[in-house]
Symmetry: C3
Subunit: 283 residues, 3 copies
């Protein structure tokens, strides 16, 4: 096992653990809530770059070290300029959507192992991954954004309808409610949900299995699936623009302010039941 | 609550009830069977136009006031010219497909709450809606048309494969059989089916929830989902042309004649079990 | 019932049985394992050509006469030239993908009734069919190819993501494991799985039902579904090219050699549990 190539302090938050040269795990460890913000861009970018360029890695599992949170919403306390002033990535997209579309195209199999909340950007990372498996008892997927006056920005309008169909995608996005593991499986939002005790074993066995296959065969097969299934970058770009436009409107400003007053960004009910709280903001 | 703006007599058949300025319900009340025909075009058009233009409505629920029928097949007793002589709508499509594609794009969330049969045009209206929820015991979705010698004309060949996949779409369309609520859920034809006693409560809570969100955020998010999921109008136009061409062929004329002799258009077995009866017409 | 028009000896292996002029069954009977290779191209081509050109056939059911195998992987003992030297078909594609895309577009409803393994080319034929129904206890669908160092070549990267979504398609293709009937139903890989005792009755009733409908109505409806759901031929062509390129690479050569040493191509564990064995080949 090697430590990743970025600085030790930051490495602790989004860290690569190499089970083998072919099988990596990436752990989100941003206490107390796995909130992701512009301060984490360099870390995620380093991970995606290693996945794109390492000659040996075949499979990566994304998981959380934080009880209750796989990876949750964006950091609303960060200054907007910290997000918008980051130069575009190699795809020409802004930093966050750039990293997500690169992950989808990376020559490596990415698996999101979801225990706890995958909300907003957490769901977007899961959707940008190749596969998603969820804890039946402990996973919550959600796009709460519309409830907060925000247009989601990292790909779900492009990805969810193609994955689960227009009707269920609109329910997830416009209902903005918490989706537990079982329902996520029924909808195809995750590949499958497992009893919590079985999730790690299943994902580990699948990753070990894939890691035993030939890398070129994997990447050529994935590349052809990409042709049939990935949205065009322009659709993701349009989402990001719509998100940025929505953030500065009064609806979002007022709703996010109320959520923060209720307790957003602090451990407790609002973070644990965001789907409930976004429906308590009107008027 | 206001009454809709079209004439009182017709308003009774397809009527808007405003639970609030943001949350409307549209009730189909065309006794005895909720058969929809060209005589109902102006009513549905008025509803769609209000949904497109009202500044406050955010969510609309379509439901039925007729026991056993959400909205069923087209009116086969109407003269063909009553359908074909209606001028095209604003999309350039013929009247019925025009209204359906406008509903799909309307800046409002549409939810079909399906209890009873959603057959033919009833299924097409449900498929043109953003989401569909069904009574487990009382919902029947179906496209019986191929069994009657008709090519379906209001969008299902374009919409169903994108929603539920090619294989299940072909089964629904070419099998032409009744699909109960549970199977519709398994196939993704509806978002979910609920025990009949729970359907109204779920749909109402979801609608109230969405009605509490910001309208601009809803419509921008939906617009981006539309990009990823709506068929091009030309596909719907091609279906309508194929339907009109099929109606005048002997196969349809003979099959519809037999169905009418068996009891189509009258309360009873044929209307209740249309999937069964279309398979009794050969020879 | 008529015998098919190709030679009696070969006819026995892939044979048409006409239940009626409108309802045909095609039986795969290539003992002992229903392995399909270039030697079977003329037989399958004759079947597809008859389905394309017969004026009366409306529905065809594909089934197996071999216990445990619907139709399994390609013949690895055949010389590569026997596959590559066959002239392209009428679509311009190479022989096998040509037959598969023609089946998908044929003016007849094709139903795969899957009992036993549908692996590799067997799954590709099932996916090229219009619908798939599976025995809950006895069906296994799989794409083992990546595990053998091969890029699948007959359409699954184009078809599976459109049918079951990107995430589950990547799991099937890159996990390369056996998918039992129940999971295939959950994923939408098959329309439905049935208790083994019910499969034949369901499929037969559906086929009889469809055979009672009007052929022109069926084919026009299917043609419009095709527009919405079939991949472009170029995607299938790219898969075939990728398969041929992969076969001659060391990864595939070594892995296929090991599988043959383990017992591939002979009745027994390797053929019965190919998903397990492809994960035992590393190093």
């Amino acid at each position: 096992m090697k430590t990743p190539s970025f600085s030790a302090t930051k490495a602790a938050e989004i860290r690569i653990v190499r089970r083998s040269p072919a099988y990596w795990r990436v752990t989100f460890d941003l206490p107390p809530l796995n909130i992701f913000g512009p301060e984490n861009f360099p870390q995620l970018n380093a991970v995606v770059t290693e996945l794109e360029t390492d000659a040996h890695v075949k499979v990566v599992v994304f998981e959380s070290a934080i009880e209750g949170f796989f990876l949750t919403h964006y950091n609303f306390l960060a200054k907007l300029e910290d997000t918008t002033n980051v130069p575009p990535g190699t795809t020409g997209l802004q930093a966050l959507p750039d990293m997500l579309v690169r992950l989808s195209r990376a020559p490596v199999v990415s698996i999101a192992s979801i225990r706890g909340r995958a909300t907003g950007v957490g769901s977007e990372l899961a959707l940008a991954s190749d596969m998603r498996f969820a804890s039946r008892e402990k996973a919550i997927l959600s796009h709460f954004e519309v409830g907060a006056g925000l247009v989601p920005g990292g790909g779900p309008m492009a990805r969810l309808p193609r994955l689960i169909g227009r009707g269920r995608a609109l329910e997830v996005l416009l209902g903005a409610d918490d989706i537990p593991g079982d329902l996520a499986e029924l909808y195809g939002y995750v590949n499958r949900s497992f009893p919590d005790a079985d999730l790690d074993g299943f994902v580990d066995a699948l990753a070990i299995r894939i890691a035993s296959f030939d890398k070129q065969t994997i990447l050529e097969t994935k590349r052809l699936v990409n042709v049939a299934s990935l949205p065009a970058d322009i659709e993701i770009a349009a989402e990001w623009d719509a998100l940025l436009a929505s953030i500065v409107r009064p609806a979002a400003q007022e709703r996010i302010k109320k959520l923060l007053e209720f307790g957003l960004h602090k451990p407790g009910d609002v973070e644990n039941q965001l789907g409930y709280y976004v429906a308590q903001l009107e008027g």
